[in-house]
């Protein structure tokens, strides 16, 4: 029997960026908050020996243990879904800080176009630019409405950047810290894109250019360009992460209690409200019910959707009828790009996760799509993240993948290869969705989440077009050989692509086409808030974290208001 624990003002499920932001904001406002994290506590001291590519990057030390829980995957409805037995295409986080611990720190704000994508696309290109199978919809909130929350997020993290990009939304405030150092590799990209008439700028970064203290008093240090960001924690406390910012902010209030190894298995619904969550202490095996006035789901896209599904909250999306909203509009990120092989040696092993330059000339609706068979686009960036030797063995297409020639070429090219990559937008399609698996179960006896996903014609066209643009830039940069990425075919979970999964618990202006309203308040349970990239009705041409952060701040404001007034926030 589960032990019922005294009611608190809010229980937050998951302590990554969204859970951390929620904990900080609600606790600062005087609410008593309990945070439940299924993983372990961790902090900067745990990262002192982190420069270990094998343990962290190859064997995924900081990621979810799939022996406990994974998802099942199929490309389409006729294919039997099978478990993702090993990590690959995306890396699910775990533990305090979540993916915010091992991210690269690219910190973008979606374009004004993204939030009104349906209206603006229809206005400019007519209602049939994409077929009806693409479930394009506005987000119910505009860039202008979100801008203050974007800035709040940037101030908390101390984002380093420069406001010289002519294509993104108007900014009222400058970035909290100046951009990172412009290295020779970045300058190659800068001069090539300028020559081509494009508009390069420094990528907004959560690896900070200088020491910074945020408005809550949390200190973030200055990046050392050591080359170990993505899949690693930062041993300098120089990459903004929940455990060095929002978590200590919440703790300082004395209104916040964290419980680790606490795996939530159910949101308990009573009528049009929820009363709390049931969780398992994964050490003792004991079950607890934490009652709360407000429940915030702040785990990853997958688990947020799964918890709603196993708790029977909301109506599961059905691709045959188009009815139901839960699990709908699952999107990913399309990754066009190019490799360039150079003669001269470069310091490719140095860098930082978000050290880069970008152009937005082919993102959103910055360019005319009238004669193109796709909408949206991608931010195109060169990044100098610090390449590591196990996983970076650049060889040209005609080189054998093992043996003497492989060894020579991969070693030669290791310090002579640069890449340009796009974060391509991903449009929702009626056949791409999340649901519950009927066969496979997790360690707690719950069904696994099932992903039905494949790349669409829109994705393939976007990928091809942006890869060609990237190749032109790489030629201009002086590469002796330029190899664009192969055209995309079927979505494959084996090789790493990106941990930018979105959708499934989407936001919107109406319960007819969304799971939560624009405060991320569940349409069917007014005291339940579901927060994260799962709220995106489509994925934009940038990394998602900045937009996730802004939505979390808006939602936190809504919850504080709700705690006083109750009722729907819209």
């Amino acid at each position: 029997m589960a032990t019922t624990l005294p009611k608190v003002d809010a229980v937050v499920v998951g302590l990554g960026w969204t859970g951390g932001i929620m904990a900080a904001e609600l606790a600062k406002a005087g609410l008593k908050v309990v945070g439940l994290e299924r993983g372990e506590a961790r902090n900067t001291e745990d990262y002192l020996k982190v420069h270990d590519e094998y343990r962290y990057a190859v064997r995924y030390e900081l990621m979810q243990n799939l022996s406990k829980e994974t998802i099942t995957i199929r490309n389409h409805r006729k294919m039997p879904a099978l478990p993702m037995r090993q990590l690959g295409s995306f890396l699910l986080g775990n533990g305090l800080g979540g993916s915010g611990t091992h991210w690269n720190g690219h910190s973008w704000i979606f374009l004004p176009y993204d939030f009104k994508i349906k209206t603006m696309t229809d206005e400019k290109y007519g209602p049939n630019k994409l077929s009806k199978d693409y479930l394009l919809q506005d987000w119910g909130v505009t860039y202008e409405e979100l801008e203050p929350y974007f800035y709040k997020y940037e101030q908390t993290l101390g984002i380093s950047g420069e406001d010289t990009n002519p294509f993104w939304g108007k900014r009222t405030n400058p970035f909290p810290t100046p951009p990172m150092k412009k290295t020779p590799i970045l300058k190659k990209f800068e001069s090539a894109t300028q020559k081509l008439g494009y508009h390069p700028f420094m990528l907004p970064s959560a690896n900070l250019s200088e020491p910074y203290t945020n408005p809550d008093g949390a200190a973030i240090n200055s990046c050392q360009y050591c080359g170990f960001c993505e899949r690693f924690g930062c041993e300098y406390g120089a990459k903004s992460s929940p455990e060095i910012t929002v978590i200590p902010t919440a703790e300082k209030t004395n209104n916040f209690e964290m419980r680790f190894r606490a795996n939530v298995v159910e949101v308990i619904k009573n009528g049009n409200k929820v009363s709390g969550v049931k969780y398992l202490d994964t050490l003792s095996g004991e079950e607890f019910i934490q009652e709360a006035e407000v429940v915030v789901l702040a785990s990853y896209v997958m688990n947020n959707a799964k918890l709603l599904m196993v708790s029977n909250i909301g109506e599961q999306y059905n691709p045959d009828t188009g009815k139901g909203t839960l699990g709908k509009n699952y999107c990913y990120q399309i990754l066009p790009g190019v490799n360039g092989y150079f003669d001269e040696q470069m310091n490719t092993f140095m860098g930082a996760g978000a050290l880069g330059m970008t152009i937005d000339d082919f993102n959103g609706d910055s360019f005319d799509h009238s004669d193109l068979d796709f909408i949206h686009g991608a931010s195109l960036s060169i990044t100098q993240t610090g390449v590591r030797p196990i996983e970076t063995n650049p060889i040209q297409r005609d080189t054998p993948t093992w043996g003497a020639e492989f060894k020579k070429n991969s070693i030669y090219n290791y310090t002579r290869t640069l890449g340009i990559g796009g974060q391509g937008a991903s449009m929702p399609h009626k056949e791409n969705f999340l649901s519950l698996d009927s066969k496979y179960k997790d360690a707690y006896g719950l069904p696994l989440l099932q992903m039905t996903y494949n790349f669409t014609d829109q994705d393939k066209a976007l990928h091809k077009y942006l890869t060609e643009i990237s190749a032109n830039i790489m030629k201009e940069m002086g590469a002796k050989t330029v190899e664009g990425k192969n055209p995309i075919t079927d979505y494959d979970i084996v090789g790493y692509q990106t941990t930018h999964n979105t959708g499934g618990t989407i936001m919107g202006a109406s319960p007819d086409n969304s799971v939560v309203n624009t405060y991320l308040q569940h349409w069917d349970a007014e005291n339940l808030f579901v927060v994260g990239a799962g709220n995106f009705p489509h994925n934009g041409g940038y990394n998602p974290t900045g937009t996730v952060g802004a939505l979390a701040y808006k939602s936190a404001e809504g919850i504080i208001k709700y705690s006083k007034t109750g009722g729907s926030l819209v």
Partner: protein, 249 residues
């Protein structure tokens, strides 16, 4: 340390004087298990004079955590050496300790897939659905090594480790193209894993028993664990930096 080296050189002395070096075929036991050292040692493409590619004498802790017999370990060693051979740039997989790296990995979490979803029912699935075998990596490696040996016997009536490098390559190529049948997994999958494990052993921190003397990093000019590049990140010049391992912190 000194004693261990002495022991190992005694073993080499034994080989020199035992007649194995002349190519005597002796099956099983100590001598049979060591045959591969010398047969490959005669091949100029893999081994410059005086250094056998299977010479593990540079490895300080040359015991087994996973493997049981020398024959299997030699098959693994020779296969990794073909994937990452010694050349004018520097050592190959064997000198780097890659076989020992793999031995340790197979004995632990990696070999038992303890952080992966291994519950049934099992089905073959589409390639896009990834690894669907009921076998652990340790089981795949064990079987794969047996199959390499079996294939060598089938094609050349000889153990894998006694083959010429080109013959080893031919068999490895057949595995990579999935032309050999395996049970519960595929030859292509085994080869892919073997290739990945070889590179992991060549380039991981030396604490994992590979990348001996950080020579994998030296060849690639990767400086390993460095605290900071902030003072040189803007330099136009390529920086040659003496590598550091985590153990040297």
């Amino acid at each position: 340390m000194a004693e261990e080296k002495k022991n190992l050189s005694t073993r080499r002395d034994f080989l020199k004087t035992s007649g194995v070096a002349a190519g005597a075929l002796i099956g099983g036991g100590l001598i049979g298990g060591l045959v591969g050292y010398n047969v490959n040692g005669t091949s100029p493409t893999t081994a410059p004079k005086g250094t056998s590619p299977s010479d593990h004498t540079q490895h300080a802790n040359a015991g087994f955590q996973f493997f049981k017999n020398n024959r299997d370990f030699e098959v693994l060693s020779n296969a990794t050496e073909r994937i990452f051979p010694k050349d004018d740039l520097g050592p190959g997989a064997i000198e780097l300790g890659v076989p020992y790296f793999i031995d340790r990995q197979l004995a632990g979490q990696y070999g038992s897939n303890s952080r992966e979803y291994m519950h049934g029912p099992f089905a073959v699935g589409a390639p896009t659905q990834g690894y669907q075998s009921r076998l652990t990596r340790a089981e795949v490696f064990k079987q794969g090594i047996e199959k390499l040996e079996e294939e060598a016997n089938k094609r050349y009536e000889s153990g894998f480790s006694s083959l010429e490098p080109e013959q080893m390559d031919e068999i490895l190529t057949a595995f990579s193209k999935d032309e050999v049948k395996m049970s519960g997994t595929t030859a292509a999958f085994f080869f892919k894993m073997l290739r990945a494990a070889t590179l992991e052993g060549a380039y991981s921190d030396p604490m994992y028993s590979g990348n001996n003397n950080m020579d994998g990093w030296r060849m690639k000019e990767f400086p390993g664990h460095q605290m900071s590049y902030i003072s040189v990140i803007e330099s136009d010049k390529f920086q040659k930096i003496e590598p550091k391992s985590l153990g040297s912190m």
